[in-house]
């Protein structure tokens, strides 16, 4: 792993920062002198956490329910940011894992009467993991390394095919989906929508977020960072690039599955759109909007887009999809690094491992 650290610092210090390929032209890179660097990311995270904790106390009932849904979607967005922001896999099919877990737990509840939280949440995560291993294994592993385009189209197709299958399969309810899912239970207590469910979802989000943080700051995360910077170089150092990607993909799928099972019980129904391309693309947009490669960016993106849709659909009933599309286009054009780039420097996105090298006079 020291080799990776060397490779990374070889890039980070020395000459100008290597721009990441996803930057658009004309994007400013915040190159600050090392000595004056402040760490803004933890500040952002703490602020977000504080706001999230007090939200139910200041919002009306139905808005708390809405906020719970946003928290679950933020968890979903997190899964995508992990695979794209940290491993460079453009997965257009995260909804496949999200939706399959949702359907899985819905079937458990409908056919086997299983609603205990201790069973359904792990079940959802496992279903997500299984599908991610299957799809990821097929798309990523193999004799020739797969191109980025192939993986993204492969995941897109996977999501689309699952949507069509669910739409056509009567056992899964076809186009209607599976309605009237009973509430999640813990013993005899039922998790109804409201403040309790909100804190449950928030708690899960915080735990998963912290785990992701630990993952990307670990040795494994260093290898991932090297992967993002320069795949070939990391491969030459001896890392099995495809295996690394597959592992991250599987973790992302697990998180998406967890989010999916929460969503199913919170909304009370599952339907084919949960598996489909629109949902998949939505989560990509959350991460892009907020800022990929920062974890908190995905959360922020989800909050902003969902909040904006909510407000717009109230006030500009007929044209809100157009306005949303315009906003997204503007962000993609002019702030491809996401909204968080307004406050966050370039270095905090991927690097930031350990202390910066001391300047010698």
């Amino acid at each position: 792993m020291d080799a990776a650290r060397q490779a990374l610092s070889g890039v980070a210090s020395g000459g100008p920062d290597t721009p990441i390929a996803e930057c658009g032209p004309g994007d400013e890179l915040a190159v600050r002198p090392v000595a004056a660097r402040r760490r803004i990311l933890p500040v952002v995270e703490v602020l977000a956490l504080g706001l999230a904790l007090i939200l139910p106390l200041i919002l009306q009932d139905y808005l708390t329910v809405f906020a719970t849904r946003v928290v679950i979607l933020a968890l979903f967005a997190l899964s995508f940011d992990l695979v794209w922001g940290y491993a460079g896999i453009m997965s257009f099919g995260q909804a496949l894992f999200f939706g399959s877990a949702g359907y899985g737990v819905a079937l458990l509840a409908r056919d086997l009467d299983v609603t205990s939280i201790l069973l359904v949440l792990p079940a959802g995560a496992l279903i997500g993991l299984a599908f991610a291993l299957l799809l990821g294994g097929f798309l990523l592993l193999g004799r020739h390394p797969s191109s980025v385009i192939f993986v993204s189209l492969g995941t897109l197709t996977g999501s689309y095919a699952a949507d069509r299958l669910a739409r056509g399969w009567y056992y899964l309810g076809g186009q209607n989906g599976i309605p009237s899912i009973p509430s999640m239970t813990l013993g005899s207590y039922e998790f109804e929508e409201g403040a309790v469910f909100y804190y449950l979802a928030l708690g899960i989000l915080i735990v998963v977020y912290l785990l992701c943080r630990i993952l990307v700051r670990s040795q494994f995360g260093l290898a991932l960072a090297g992967l993002r910077e320069n795949e070939r170089r990391i491969a030459f150092f001896g890392y099995k690039v495809q295996h690394l990607k597959a592992i991250v993909f599987a973790v992302g799928g697990t998180i998406a599955g967890l989010a999916g099972s929460l969503y199913a019980f919170h909304e009370g129904f599952v339907w084919p759109n949960m598996l489909g391309v629109v949902f998949s693309t939505q989560v990509v947009l959350y991460a892009l909007f907020g800022g990929s490669g920062t974890l908190i960016g995905a959360v922020i993106g989800a909050v902003i887009i969902e909040g904006a849709s909510f407000w717009l659909s109230d006030n500009y009933r007929d044209i809100w999809p157009i306005i949303l599309g315009l906003l997204l286009l503007l962000v993609i054009l002019f702030r491809p690094l996401g909204l968080i780039s307004f406050v966050l420097g370039e270095r905090e996105r991927v690097g930031g491992f350990g202390r910066p090298p001391k300047r010698t006079r």
Partner: protein, 285 residues
């Protein structure tokens, strides 16, 4: 016997439609390396222009003639303003064109109000061979597709403009060094891709009726077709479209339509996995 003939005709006509839609997508993907998620919406615009002309009292074929030019012009403008910023980042391009497609689709939905509108065919009725009836309009679509493909091929292989396009396709840096304005070529290519989509939309609107989600239907099939056929050449996407179109139309004859649906995609992805360069690899015509 007649059965087989009808079956082949239907499969051929559906394949021709897919080829038209995918041709533009393939050209844009081969030339600029980006997948245009708004291609389906260009098809929708072509259909809409045709409907608009018809609803104003003009004959349908006038609208059909105008559609490719109008949509191509829009494509040119969009390329200059928006699309060209994406060339360095193909992934972001997919998202940007997705947002663009969303805007176009919702605008059209606002204009036609979520209804399904029918437009009559300029050449209606059927051609009878004894007991077998085949649609005259669908035959026209096959004919037009053939002409368009032949025209494209001739343009690319016999004209000096085509030569410049091929040069840009094979080696953009060298082309630029040789004095060819690649950005103009890219603009023309995008406009042409959009125009093809517009033409496809205009031709298919009598068959499929106009509705706001018309474009989405072809999008995924289009991408898969391009990948199966092979990015980088002209004939690649055509071949891919032919294969996907034929499979999609033929499989429901032999199995349950729902299974056939999913199977086409599974087969396509598996094929691409084991032959990543597609059916026809290599650049050029």
């Amino acid at each position: 016997m007649a059965n087989a003939f009808v079956a082949s005709f239907e499969i051929l006509s559906f394949g021709a439609i897919i080829v038209l839609v995918v041709l533009g997508l393939g050209i844009i993907a081969s030339m600029m390396g980006i997948f245009n998620f708004a291609q389906g919406e260009f098809v929708l615009l072509g259909a809409y222009v045709t409907y608009l002309a018809y609803s104003k009292g003009l004959p349908v074929w006038v609208g059909m003639l105008a559609a490719p030019f109008l949509v191509g012009a829009l494509g040119f403008v969009l390329e200059a303003l928006i699309i060209r910023r994406f060339y360095a980042a193909p992934i972001v391009a997919m998202l940007g064109t997705y947002a663009l497609g969303l805007i176009i689709r919702e605008c059209v939905r606002g204009l036609i109000g979520g209804l399904y509108i029918s437009v009559p065919e300029p050449i209606g009725g059927s051609i009878d061979f004894g007991a077998v009836h085949i649609s005259a309009w669908r035959s026209t679509i096959i004919a037009v597709t053939g002409v368009v493909m032949a025209g494209c091929y001739l343009l690319l292989s016999r004209t000096s403009f085509g030569l410049r396009v091929r040069a840009t396709l094979e080696n953009p840096a060298l082309a630029r060094a040789s004095g060819i304005s690649t950005s103009a070529i890219y603009g023309a290519a995008f406009a042409f891709g959009a125009a093809l989509a517009g033409l496809a939309g205009a031709l298919i609107v009598p068959v499929f009726s106009l509705f706001a989600d018309l474009g989405i239907r072809f999008l995924i099939q289009g991408f898969v077709a391009v990948m199966v056929g092979g990015v980088g050449s002209f004939i690649g996407p055509v071949a891919g479209a032919g294969v996907i179109g034929t499979l999609s139309a033929a499989l429901p004859w032999v199995m349950a339509p729902v299974v056939a649906d999913v199977l086409v995609f599974v087969l396509a992805i598996a094929f691409i996995k084991f032959r990543p360069q597609g059916l026809i690899s290599g650049k050029g015509v």
